[in-house]
């Protein structure tokens, strides 16, 4: 071959296609090869060369592998658009799969699996069957992957032809490459199936452990990841596994090391001997540290994983803090992760070293890194009380450099330090006040104002300082306004002199009449009423002692941490989110539409930039709240109600006969009409109408059967498939034998949370009904959320003061330091145990950013009278809370609750008598919002 490939991109003056056609049919092999290359080149730049299909396929029958591969490449690309012509290639494929050359056999099977044309798929089965038992391991390993390809095209075919069994046999193959691919293919298939297909028994375990030592590095990762699903029976088995895995820690491939670490960590959970555990920790430390010598990209992954590991087992790297010191040429994403781990490993023993590092980082050039370093110092102060003083002196030193963003960051963390160590370090307030006029960032400003208000009695000129901010009150961002309001009230309560009194009037006026911000206005009104009714109570509330905080920022919830640790060495451990928060998968065997290519469809999913919506000066935490990130988009969580999936319903009426209940008691056909779910035409004369209903606090399945057939039907049984709410029959279906022409009706009591289907909530309810005379009938119903609305969904009315004080506490917390609801819960439990969590949530949500709020408009619905709507909703356990007017609109607030204590707060905005209702809801479970809106829409429509 002469020249280089790029010459194939050059175009000729006369018609290109006819010229290529001529060359493809040339007598000379070299010329044909060159021509195919030209075709491929044209294809890759986007020219349509599909018209040459027949000519290219004619070149397929050649012994020349180079040429054959090119033709196959062409085929993969165009077979789809020329399915009829693609059949022409089948013969060659089948022939090639029996070629004496194993490379050609493998190539044929590999390529056929990539051609997603139904007609070809059928022809693939026989060659595949042969190749799975081929003498050559290269062919077998290619065939193993081909089974996974085929499963993706036609799962049924794979199961019918027994390919799964062949694949499982390959686990015992004597070639480790084949074993690895068989494991990978099985894992892939399992990923897309809801049935257990690939289960690891102690028998497969020992086989895989043996193959582990011999296969390629990639195969080792496939095997280790598959093994991580194995649960050892006892500590002894766990120790044995670990012993076999430990040598993998020495591998040069970081993926192997991390997968081995994952395995060992999992097994360690079972090992009780502290010596063994200590020894394992010791063995894992050096390889983990060595990961930090890899490329920065790998370092990043390693650091994210180490971050999790040290939260669970801090001892592993307790003495290695130095390796996490930042190098000046580390990329920023590595530096940030190292900082996090340094904070986690900081202890009384090493804090001096660590502080020295942080101080150095705080004078570097990169602004974001500097800020993070300053925060890190503050967090160490909060974490280690014996080092707090040293940390603070470093912070003061940094403030003196007067670099604006350093000062602001320092003030933010010092506010937290004051909260952590009350009455210890307030002497530095004077120093802080010197920087007052340089503050221009809302968070820093808000923090400084909080400090002034909180310590007003110790700052001689506190009133002057606050007053200087008041002039610009209307222009300040909301978080600063909120702080100014609270600080002024505190000042007034502490120094009720003339100056502050005037100030408070200005502030209250600004924050009520002059503002459009409901949070600010509500808070101001609360203060106003408190101050005007009972100043002493106001003192109790506003100047209440605040609970001491701890450094929980960036600390994960233990259950989440455990889930993430089980997912070490996966994306989950890099994002610090559970897999279902960012992986969407359809576990169905049914055909999907052919061209749904990504990235489309998913609107949100997990996106790396879920903001933390910090309207309030948050804690030093910069991590994205987990709940917010977990919020899936409605479009994504609602799989379209599919036609019944056969293999799911097999177990519906299959083995589990105990659950199927005989129906023998009569019931009267009366009551409101029910939607027909199984028309008589489909049900061989049996018509089924049904709907979920709520009566007396109980959920029922209201059913009506009509027998339009010629025979008597009896022995009715009913079964519900797994569904999002775990709805199932609470007892037997009581149904009389149904004579021809008769109809009967019953209420079947239902229970919740029996057999819940995993994944995002769906309204789909699959039902199967059976009788002695007919085949099993399947139909789909829709779960309307409002049947779950419980009678206790009303917000409790508590005494005015309690609400007030709570409200205030919530505001203070949200506004100054802690925006985390659970801390509030703890605190309120101390203050007033009679308070319902409801009210707490209410105020919390009011003061939380609106990211938890979901909106939907119902343009076609009209509210003719607020009272009727309130009554109607109340009948379905949606309770009225409050009402206000906004311009010409009426705004109604409701609350509702579904089992497991999941609350919904609802805001309906409408112009009475005009069509169009805007519905907003706040709930901790936003994934239920689509179902919720459906329910509300139904209720409003009635």
């Amino acid at each position: 071959m002469s020249g280089h490939d790029s010459k194939y991109f050059s175009t000729t003056k006369k018609g290109e296609i006819p010229e290529l056609k001529e060359e493809l049919n040339s007598q000379h092999r070299d010329k044909r090869k060159d021509a195919v290359k030209k075709v491929i080149a044209a294809m890759t730049v986007g020219k349509d060369v599909s018209s040459l299909f027949t000519d290219v396929v004619n070149c397929m029958q050649t012994e020349n592998l180079e040429l054959k591969k090119l033709v196959y490449l062409y085929l993969i690309n165009y077979a789809k658009s020329q399915p009829d012509l693609a059949i022409l290639a089948v013969n060659t494929f089948v022939k090639d799969s029996q070629d004496p050359n194993p490379l050609i056999r493998a190539l044929a099977v590999r390529t056929m699996g990539c051609i997603r044309v139904d007609k070809i798929t059928e022809y693939l089965c026989d060659p595949l069957q042969r190749c799975l038992k081929d003498d050559d391991p290269y062919v077998r390993k290619t065939a193993a992957v081909c089974v996974a390809k085929l499963y993706d095209i036609n799962a049924e075919l794979v199961e019918d032809r027994g390919f799964l069994e062949s694949l499982k046999d390959l686990i015992s193959d004597n070639n480790p490459m084949v074993v690895a691919n068989a494991v990978a293919a099985l894992a892939e298939i399992q990923e897309h199936s809801s049935r257990p297909i690939f289960e690891i028994t102690s028998h497969t375990l020992s086989k895989l452990l043996t193959a582990l030592n011999e296969c390629t590095e990639w195969g080792q990762v496939f095997i280790l990841d598959a093994l991580s699903r194995y649960k050892a029976a006892d500590a002894r088995e766990a120790e044995n596994i670990v012993e076999r895995i430990t040598p993998r820690l020495q591998h040069a491939n970081c993926a192997v090391v991390l997968s081995a670490v994952k395995m060992i960590l999992l097994q360690m959970e079972l090992i009780s001997s502290t010596d063994v555990v200590r020894n394992l920790c010791k063995k894992m430390a050096p390889p983990l540290v060595t990961l930090l010598s890899a490329e920065p990209e790998i370092q990043y992954v390693a650091l994210r994983n180490i971050n999790l590991i040290v939260q669970k087992r801090p001892t592993i790297l307790a003495h290695e803090i130095k390796v996490f010191f930042c190098k000046y040429n580390d990329p920023i994403y590595v530096k940030m992760e190292k900082l996090e781990i340094m904070i986690k490993l900081a202890s009384d023993r090493n804090i001096d070293q660590v502080l020295l590092e942080f101080k150095e980082y705080a004078t570097e050039v990169d602004v974001d890194f500097v800020r993070r370093a300053v925060r890190a110092i503050g967090r160490c102060a909060i974490k280690l009380d014996r080092a707090a003083e040293r940390c603070i002196s470093v912070l003061l030193e940094l403030i003196k450099i007067k670099v604006n963003y350093v000062v602001q960051e320092a003030i933010i963390v010092i506010k937290d330090i004051f909260r952590r160590y009350p009455n210890m370090y307030e002497s530095i307030i004077a120093t802080l006040c010197e920087s007052l006029d340089t503050l221009d960032e809302p968070e820093a400003k808000a923090s400084m104002i909080w400090i002034i208000g909180e310590y007003a009695e110790r700052i001689d000129n506190a009133d002057e300082l606050l007053e200087s901010f008041l002039e610009s009150f209307p222009e300040e961002p909301p978080q600063v306004q909120l702080q100014l309001l609270t600080a002024t009230v505190k000042l007034f309560l502490k120094k009720p002199t003339e100056g502050p009194q005037q100030m408070i009037q200005v502030v209250l006026n600004n924050a009520t009449v002059e503002t459009d911000n409901p949070d600010l206005r509500d808070r101001a009104y609360i203060y106003w009423r408190l101050l005007s009714t009972d100043p002493e109570a106001a003192k109790d509330v506003v100047l209440a002692e605040k609970p001491v905080i701890s450094d929980d920022s960036n600390q994960l919830d233990p259950s989440l941490l455990d889930e993430l640790l089980a997912n070490i060495a996966t994306l989950s451990s890099v994002y610090h989110k559970p897999p279902d928060a960012f992986v969407t998968r359809a576990k169905t065997a049914s055909q999907r539409t052919e061209d749904d290519d990504y990235p489309d469809g998913n609107e949100k999913g997990y996106s790396a930039n879920v903001g933390d919506g910090g309207a309030s000066p948050s804690t030093s935490s910069s991590s994205v709240p987990y709940t917010a990130a977990r919020q899936p988009s409605p479009a994504q969580v609602m799989p379209a109600p599919a036609s019944p999936v056969p293999d799911l319903l097999c177990d519906l009426i299959g083995l589990d006969n105990n659950a199927i209940v005989p129906a023998d008691q009569p019931a009267m056909p009366s009551g409101p009409p029910l939607p027909i779910l199984l028309p008589a035409s489909t049900g061989q004369g049996l018509q089924i109408s049904a709907q979920l209903a709520r009566q007396d606090g109980q959920i029922f399945y209201s059913l009506m059967f009509e027998n339009n057939s010629q025979i008597t039907l009896d022995g009715f049984m009913i079964q519900f498939n797994k569904n999002s709410f775990g709805l199932a029959a609470a007892g037997p279906l009581q149904f009389p034998p149904l004579a021809p022409g008769a109809a009967a009706r019953t209420l079947l009591p239902m229970v919740l949370f029996q057999n819940m289907s995993p994944g995002p909530p769906s309204s789909l309810l699959q039902v199967a009904v059976k009788n002695n005379q007919q085949p099993v009938w399947y139909f789909n119903d829709k779960i309307l959320l409002h049947v779950f609305f419980s009678e206790d969904g009303r917000m409790e009315r508590t005494s005015f003061l309690e609400v007030r004080s709570l409200f205030h506490i919530a505001l203070v917390y949200c506004g100054t330091k802690l925006s985390k609801p659970y801390i509030m819960k703890d605190h309120t439990a101390e203050r007033s145990s009679s308070m319902s969590i409801w009210s707490v949530m209410f105020v919390t949500w009011r003061s939380l950013p609106d990211s938890n709020e979901i909106l939907k408009e119902f343009p076609g619905i009209m509210v003719s009278s607020a009272e009727t709507t309130m009554d109607r909703l109340a009948a379905s356990n949606v309770f009225f809370i409050a009402k206000r007017k906004h311009a010409n609109q009426d705004v109604l607030y409701f609350s509702a609750k579904i089992p497991r204590g999941i609350p919904f707060l609802i805001e309906l905005t409408t112009v009475i008598g005009n069509p169009g209702v805007k519905c907003a809801t706040k709930t901790p479970n936003p994934e239920l919002a689509p179902l919720f809106f459906e329910a509300i829409e139904t209720l409003l429509k009635i």
Partner: protein
């Protein structure tokens, strides 16, 4: 596993694109993006835009792994090219990132040079490689040796005039910042233009060192990341034995990185940790520190090691910055090479951030020196001092007079520094780890291939605080 693999140029052009499908029912093949690249173009474009305009969590550089609309993107940068993979499932990120690095290495093995030009010229070969490396998104093999059996296209070597010089001297060419390519820009499969392949084997001991000096000149942290890298052009894959220092020991027992064993000077080389290529047999390693292997074709690390044992830093840096009157200051930067005078470091660069109000800097080098260059980067307020050569045992000094536009707030040392340094020192390694001998098992007495055992020390993070 992975759904797509692509290589983008710095400008975001698609150079290579492969869809291993999943949701995408079609395998698509697009090299140069045009209007037919519809879907393929989609993810590559989304990726590129995201990386280029990354601004999240207060960072301006995209992390190597991120998620956009349910698609997970992985990328590594190799010689200015972006190697990218995508997936929708919860895979092992290190697996994918390793794979991307390996693909780059395999392609380089085949093409000799990894560049946009060489990829475009060899697109058929690259696709052939990719088909063998990944099947349906699953990694099959990345061993150049194994691949040779399945690859039939021959590489087209890029323009010889633009080839970097071959031979041992090439090591002194600066590679990328982190992975100094062993700089053999010769394909493992292509025959030399002259005909017969030259029998030769390269063993490179590459050490990247990180040292942080405190303002008073003490060593705060020091670390060596070492690799023994091999590239074999021997026919017939003979067995090789590599003998290392006999007194080499591994693991620092229960000691932590915080306290150094005062082993410095005792001669023993103590590694914190090491790992080996899968082709290495360690049968006699514990006995006589010998590694046995049949080197596969292509470039690969025989052994990676890490050391925090104290060592003598090759350069000592002394930096003095003082205010010298109103709105003025002086910097005196002294660097001394602490290695023997028969060794010469090259491409030495010192950098130092200056106070942000610095408006002018005038430099004064030693009288009569050549091959040195100084620069004040006004926009980023940084002093730069380049020295082409730095002979062992010698000390160089730079004086800089600074002028400020404003009064400084605090101590000037807080607003300047630290001094960072990069360098390459050929034929020198600080760990004292050595290849005592390199034995090639081959019967014939006339068989005497070229063996190149080369040492090089490079700065990773070499910093002096002030």
């Amino acid at each position: 596993m992975i759904s797509q693999f692509f290589v983008l140029s710095q400008r975001g052009d698609n150079i290579v694109f492969r869809d291993y499908l999943y949701k995408a029912r079609l395998k698509r093949l697009v090299i140069v993006t045009t209007d037919r690249g519809e879907v393929a173009k989609g993810s590559a474009e989304i990726f590129f835009r995201k990386v280029k305009f990354w601004k999240e969590d207060g960072q301006e550089e995209a992390p190597p792994v991120f998620n956009v609309d349910g698609v997970n993107y992985f990328h590594v940068k190799v010689v200015g090219l972006l190697f990218v993979a995508t997936t929708r499932v919860n895979v092992s990120p290190s697996l994918v990132l390793e794979l991307l690095q390996r693909i780059a290495r395999v392609i380089k093995d085949y093409l000799g040079v990894l560049s946009e030009d060489s990829l475009r010229k060899n697109f058929v070969l690259v696709y052939e490689l990719l088909d063998e490396v990944i099947d349906f998104g699953y990694m099959q093999t990345t061993s150049t040796e194994v691949l040779k059996a399945y690859i039939f296209n021959e590489p087209i070597v890029v323009d010889a005039a633009r080839l970097q010089p071959l031979g041992p001297a090439a090591i002194f060419m600066q590679g990328t910042k982190r992975m100094p390519g062993t700089a053999i820009t010769k394909s493992v499969v292509a025959n030399e233009p002259g005909g017969r392949k030259r029998e030769e084997i390269f063993v490179d001991i590459i050490e990247k060192i990180s040292v942080t000096f405190s303002s008073s000149g003490y060593i705060l942290t020091s670390e060596i990341d070492g690799t023994i890298q091999m590239k074999s052009y021997l026919t017939g894959n003979p067995e090789i034995r590599l003998a290392l220092n006999e007194d080499l020991s591994i693991g620092r027992g229960g000691e932590s990185a915080n306290d150094y064993r005062s082993s410095y000077g005792s001669g023993a080389v103590i590694l914190d940790d090491c790992n080996f290529h899968e082709s290495v047999r360690l049968d006699s390693f514990d006995m006589d520190r010998t590694l046995a292997l049949v080197p596969p074709d292509g470039e690969f690390p025989v052994m990676n090691y890490r050391m925090t044992q104290e060592f003598k830093p090759p350069f000592h840096i002394n930096c003095l910055i003082e205010e010298a009157g109103h709105l003025k200051a002086e910097v005196i930067l002294k660097v001394r090479a602490e290695f023997p005078s028969n060794i010469t470091a090259n491409t030495v660069v010192l950098e130092m951030p200056l106070p942000k109000y610095t408006t002018r800097a005038s430099f004064e080098l030693e009288p009569g020196v050549t091959g040195q260059r100084t620069d004040f980067k006004g926009a980023i307020k940084k002093l730069e001092w380049d020295l082409e050569k730095f002979v062992g045992g010698v000390e160089h000094t730079l004086r800089a007079k600074l002028t400020f536009s404003q009064e400084l707030h605090a101590n000037i040392t807080k607003e300047a520094g630290p001094v960072s340094m990069t360098f390459t020192i050929p034929m020198y390694n600080v760990s004292r780890l050595q290849v005592k001998y390199l034995q090639i098992a081959k019967k014939s007495s006339s068989y005497n291939p070229y063996r190149w055992v080369r040492y090089v020390t490079q700065a990773n993070s070499y910093v002096a605080r002030i």
